[in-house]
C-alpha cells in the first residue's frame, strides 16, 4: 500500500495534466455552446503544455540561464558548467511554440464563431442544427 501511495506522490504532475485534459476533452464533446467548446479546447491545449513543462524540472536545478558568465571576452576562469545544475531547456522551447499555436487556433476559432453567429444569430449548436433542418 505504501509503495502505491509513494508512486502516486512521486508522479503527481501526470495526474494533474490528465485530469485537466479530460475536462477539456469532455467540454469539447459534451458542451452545446460553441464558445464553451472553444474554451474546452483551450483547456485541452494548456494541459499538454503543463505536461511538457513538468518534464523539464530537475531536483535542485535553477532556471536555464547562465548568470556568472559575463561575456566570453574575459571568461578564462569560467569553471565548467554541469548539466545537473540547470533545468532542461528543451520543453520550454517546445511549449513556446505550443502556446503560440494555442493562441492562433483560438483566434481562428473565434473568427469562425463570429461568422456562424453572423449567419445564424445564435451560438447554441442545437438551435443552429434546427435552423439548418428547417431550411
Amino acid at each position: 500500500m505504501t509503495d502505491f501511495l509513494e508512486l502516486v506522490v512521486a508522479k503527481y504532475n501526470y495526474w494533474i495534466y490528465i485530469t485537466l485534459m479530460m475536462i477539456g476533452l469532455y467540454a469539447i464533446i459534451a458542451k452545446n455552446n460553441l464558445v464553451k467548446k472553444i474554451l474546452g479546447m483551450n483547456i485541452f491545449q494548456t494541459a499538454i503544455i503543463l505536461f511538457y513543462v513538468s518534464t523539464g524540472v530537475k531536483e535542485g536545478a535553477t532556471i536555464p540561464i547562465l548568470e556568472h558568465a559575463h561575456g566570453p571576452a574575459h571568461g578564462a576562469e569560467t569553471h565548467a558548467i554541469h548539466a545537473a545544475d540547470y533545468m532542461n531547456p528543451l520543453p520550454h522551447v517546445l511549449m513556446l511554440t505550443a502556446i503560440v499555436v494555442g493562441v492562433a487556433t483560438l483566434g481562428v476559432a473565434l473568427a469562425l464563431a463570429l461568422r456562424v453567429y453572423r449567419h445564424y444569430n445564435t451560438l447554441e449548436e442545437d438551435e443552429i442544427l434546427a435552423q439548418i433542418r428547417k431550411k
Partner: protein
Amino acid sequence: MSQQYPALVVVVPLLSAFLISPAGWANKRLCFPIALVALAMATGSAVGLLFRVMNEGVIVYRLAGWDPPWGISYYVDHLNALVLVVVAVVALANLIPAKKSIEREFPDNQGAFYTLYILMVTGLLGIVVTGDAFNLYVLLEIAALTGYGLLAMGEGGRAPLATLNYLYMGTIGACFYLLGVGYLYIMTGSLNMVDIAGLLPSIYESKAVVAAFIICMVGVWLKMAFFPLHAWLPNSYTYASSPASSLIAPLATKVMIYVMIRLILTVFTPDFTFITLSISKAVVWLAVVAIVMGAFLALKERSLKKMLTYIIVAEVGYMVGGAWLGNRAGMTGAILHIANDALMTLCVFLAVGNIVYRTKGHHFENLQGLFKKMPFTMGGFVIGAVSIIGVPPTCGFFSKWYLITGAIQSGQYHFMVALLFSSLVSVVLFFRVIEISYYEPFSDHHGHGHDHHTTPMEEAPLSMVIPLLIVAAGLILVGLYTGDIVEHIISFAVPEGLV
C-alpha cells in the same frame, strides 16, 4: 544548388507567401504569378530531390548546421521524396484552374486567399520532408490553420459551422499527436525520428511506448478522417469554395496517411507495429468497416461533391488497411495509392470545380445535360471516375492490384471483399451521375423568368479545362508506368524487414 534542394522545396513557397500577402494590398494581379513561380520552383526542386535520392539513397540535411539529435534535420528517403513530388504537382496543377474561380468568388481579398493557399502547400511539403517529430507538429498546425481559413469561406452559414467542427476535431487530433511525441520524448529524450527509432527497441515492452504509439495513431487517424473519426470531413469539404476543396481534398488526408506510414516504418519500425503489438488484424477490420461505410454513405447523397467526400473516406480505408496488412505488397499498395488517389481525387474535384463554375451548384439537378454542354469536363470526370472504380489503363486499378495481392498473401480475405464491394458501389455511384448528365435534357431552370442574363451554358473557360485534361492523361500515364514507379522508388521505400 542541388545540395540545397531539401531546403528549397519548403523555403521558396514560404518566402513567396510573405511576398504575396503585401502584393495583395499593393496590386492584386501580382499574387497569381508569384504563387505560380514559387510552386513551379518547389515542384522542380522536389523532382530534383527525387532523382538525387534515387541516385544517392537517403539524404540528410542539417538545418542551421547542427548535427541530428541536437538540431532539426531532414531525412529524405524514397518514401517522402515520392510524396513530396505528388504534393507539389497536385498543388501546382490545382493553382492554374483555381485562378478564375478565385477572381469570381473572392474579388477583394485575393491576396489573402493566395497567401493561405501557398502557406497550406508549404505546411504539407514541410510535413512530408521533415525528419523531426515536433517540427512535424508545427507544420501540421500550419496546414490545419490555413485549411480552416480556406474552407471557411464557402456557402452561407454552413461552411464556417462545418469548419468549426473540423477545427475542434483537428485540434484534438493534433494535440493527441503532440502528446504522443511528448511520451516518446520522455521515454527516449530525443525528438529526431531516426534517433528515437534507435533508442526505442530497448524499451519496446514498456506501457508508455505502447501508449505513445496508440495516442499518435489516434491523433493521425483523427486528422485523416479514418472511419469512426471522419464526421468532420464530408461537411467541411462539401460547403467549401471549389478552389479550396480541390486543393485540400486530394492532399490533406493523403499527407496524414504518409505520416502514419512514416510512424509505422521509421519511428516504430515494422517489427514493433506488427509483432510486438497484435492490433494489426483489428485495424484491418476497422479499415474494412471504413471502406464499406464510406461507400455505403456515399449512396444516399444527392450532392455530387458530398458523394465524393464519402469516397475519400473509403479511399482512406484502402490505404490504412493496406498499410496494416503487414506485408510488402500491402505496404507498396498503400504508398502507391497515396500518389494515385491524390491524382484521382484532384481530377474529379477539378471537374466538379468546372461544373460549379458554370452551373453554380453541385447537386444532381445541376448536372443535367452536361455531356452535351460541357463534353471535355465530363470527359475528364469520366476518366477520373473510371480510375476510382479501378479500370486497367488508369492508375486506380494498379494500386487495387497491390492491395488485393497483399490481402490474399496475408490471408485477410475480408479486406479483398471490401475492396471489391467498394469498387462495385463506385460503379453504381459514378454511373448514376453519368446517367443524369447523359440522359436528362439540359433544363435551363436557372433562367426562371426574371434573370435574363443567364450565362450561355457552354464549356468551362480554357484555363480550367486544359489542366483537367492534363491530369486525366496523367492518370493513365501513371497507371501505365506503375511498374517503373514501384521498382525504382517504392521498393526501396518499404524496408527489408517487411517480407
